[in-house]
């Protein structure tokens, strides 16, 4: 602290501390605490707030256990997000490895730019592009009909399948960059040495590349899972009433059910799920927080 004061002087230090305090207290910590506290209170009309009925309760959390439909949607959100995460990892690993270790140096800037550009494009627009592809009269149905694979157009939209396909597409870039960064720092001589000593390519990946890429895999999986489980845009656009996502249930508590306390409890459950996944991945891959937020 004295070093901060020595470098910036009293006035500037005061401004810096005030700004950081405003950010962390008013914008980050207090809202989270408020939301959690709110979730342990019953939903009451304003006249009864602070009255005898305004007590601590876990009722809002029990709702998830007693409501079979919500519980099923919650569990579906977990496995579907895990599936999205595993699929993006499988799709991205070869590309990341190629870019980081195999690609010729002069071709690399263009390839990276081709990865960066879609990354900048609005998530909602990327989702929308799949809405058009998967539409009943869309190009995918036309293609499959033309190839004779199906006899009549299929409904791809409005189901879990469409949502999962869309999520893989939308969140794939959050996997490919962490993987690329991790594999890029691997010394190519290690691969050469393993090959000289007679290791096959499968063994090289299992024993050398994958262990080295662990932090990247952890970061990619954490980001992808968090984005998938917390996604609202993709299920809203590509899903339907039969493929609701947990975030849509939360939204409905707020803006259709009018029960904010209940919605806050569900939101906290979603947050706990994501924190649990982060801690699990950090432990599994043995990485720290500083490796994650880069």
């Amino acid at each position: 602290m004295t070093e901060v004061l020595r470098r910036y002087g009293p006035v500037l230090t005061g401004v810096i501390l005030l700004a950081v305090a405003v950010w962390l207290a008013l914008l980050v910590v207090l809202p989270q605490l408020m939301m959690i506290g709110f979730s342990f209170r019953p939903s009451l009309p304003p006249s009864k707030l602070g009255g005898p009925e305004d007590v601590f309760t876990v009722k809002n959390y029990l709702t998830l256990w007693t409501n079979q439909i919500h519980l099923a949607i919650f569990l579906k959100t977990i496995w579907a997000s895990a599936l999205v995460t595993a699929t993006t990892l499988a799709v991205c690993y070869p590309v990341a490895f190629y870019l980081a270790q195999v690609a010729p140096k002069r071709r690399l800037p263009l390839l990276i730019l081709m990865l960066v550009v879609p990354f900048w494009i609005n998530e909602l627009l990327r989702t929308f592009s799949w809405y058009i592809i998967l539409a009943f009269n869309g190009p995918l149905n036309a293609l499959l009909l033309g190839l004779g694979i199906i006899d009549e157009p299929q409904r791809f939209l409005g189901g879990d399948g469409g949502v999962i396909v869309g999520m893989v597409y939308v969140y794939i870039l959050f996997m490919v960059f962490p993987l690329y960064n991790a594999i890029e720092s691997l010394d190519r001589n290690q691969i050469e040495a393993a090959r000289d000593l007679g290791a096959g390519w499968l063994r090289i990946h299992r024993r050398i590349v994958l262990p080295h890429a662990k932090p990247g895999i952890a970061v990619g999986c954490i980001m992808t899972f968090m984005l998938a489980a917390g996604s609202y845009a993709v299920p809203a656009l590509l899903g339907g009433p039969n493929s609701r996502w947990f975030t849509e249930i939360i939204y409905n508590w707020f803006f259709e059910g009018g029960n904010w306390n209940q919605g806050a409890a569900y939101a906290f459950i979603l947050l706990v799920l994501c924190i649990g996944f982060i801690l699990g991945a950090m432990r599994l891959f043995r990485v720290g927080l500083a490796d994650i937020a880069k």
Partner: protein, 275 residues
């Protein structure tokens, strides 16, 4: 030798597939803009038209939503960039446990699902200040995590900053204010510009957080989502195409500037070593 060639062939095919997968959907979406079908599709092709751009141009609600997005974006730049800058300046001078703790707290909004950022902001401001959803809360909620992106950008640049410059200026009698204005800020200027650009883009494309705190205001991204669900015409594709074109332009410019800056720094490092 044949095994190696086969592997190269497979790798090449996979790359073509991968990049095709990345770009083909966007291409199809763009192509549907020019089809004179009432529903956006490329099959069947009903003839070329530019009419959907005109329909878009005449849509008053689109212009209103664009205005809202620009306003929110400006607000986020004004709030999140200074917050991120202050955070990075503080972190740069802290060590050990305090730094780790603050850092974890600062990046936590990036690891929180966007809907939760929106919900917690909505609940907190209504309960404490009686403020309900609208432009102000949208700016506040978006800034709470966009400030973290700004902080990361500033921290990366401060890592390469030579504190001796500041100390020399202080020794020569400059005040802290002068040092900050004349040395620290100019050094950080490229990062301030990138942070502002990133903050604006993040704000502009945000949907999950905005949805909960927008009140009755409609940003352009919310407008598009509403249009897709109710009243979808290829005018939405026209809007998407315009936004994508602008984004690609911005991304390419940003990348070129970033690479030039990286080369310049590498160059000055070499010059210093040879001097």
């Amino acid at each position: 030798m044949t095994a190696a060639r086969l592997r190269r062939l497979l790798t090449g095919a996979y790359l073509v597939l991968f990049f095709g997968y990345l770009f083909l959907p966007l291409g199809i979406m763009a192509a549907a803009t020019f089809n004179s079908s009432r529903f956006p599709t490329v099959t069947p092709w009903m003839g070329f038209t530019l009419g959907w751009f005109q329909a878009l141009w005449e849509d008053q609600r689109m212009w209103a939503a664009l205005g809202t997005s620009l306003l929110v974006g400006a607000g986020v730049i004004a709030l999140a960039v200074p917050l991120g800058l202050a955070a990075a300046l503080l972190l740069d001078r802290l060590h050990s446990r305090a730094r780790t703790f603050l850092y974890a707290l600062m990046v936590s909004p990036l690891l929180t699902p966007g809907v939760i950022v929106g919900i917690s902001t909505l609940v907190f401001w209504r309960e404490w200040f009686g403020v309900s959803g609208g432009l102000f809360l949208t700016v506040v909620a978006q800034s709470s995590f966009i400030a973290a992106y700004a902080m990361l950008l500033f921290s990366a640049r401060l890592e390469r900053f030579d504190p001796a410059l500041e100390e020399a200026a202080l020794d020569l009698g400059a005040t802290h204010g002068q040092v900050f204005r004349r040395i620290t800020l100019p050094y950080l200027m490229p990062a301030i510009l990138s942070a502002a650009l990133l903050a604006f883009l993040q704000s502009f494309e945000n949907y999950n957080t905005t949805l909960f705190v927008r009140g009755l205001d409609t940003t352009l991204t919310v407008f598009i989502a509403t249009k897709v669900r109710t009243g979808l015409t290829p005018a939405v594709n026209a809007l998407s195409l315009v936004l994508i074109a602008l984004t690609i332009l911005g991304a390419v410019v940003y990348e070129i500037l970033r690479r030039r800056e990286a080369r310049r720094q590498a160059g000055s490092a070499v010059a210093l070593e040879t001097a």
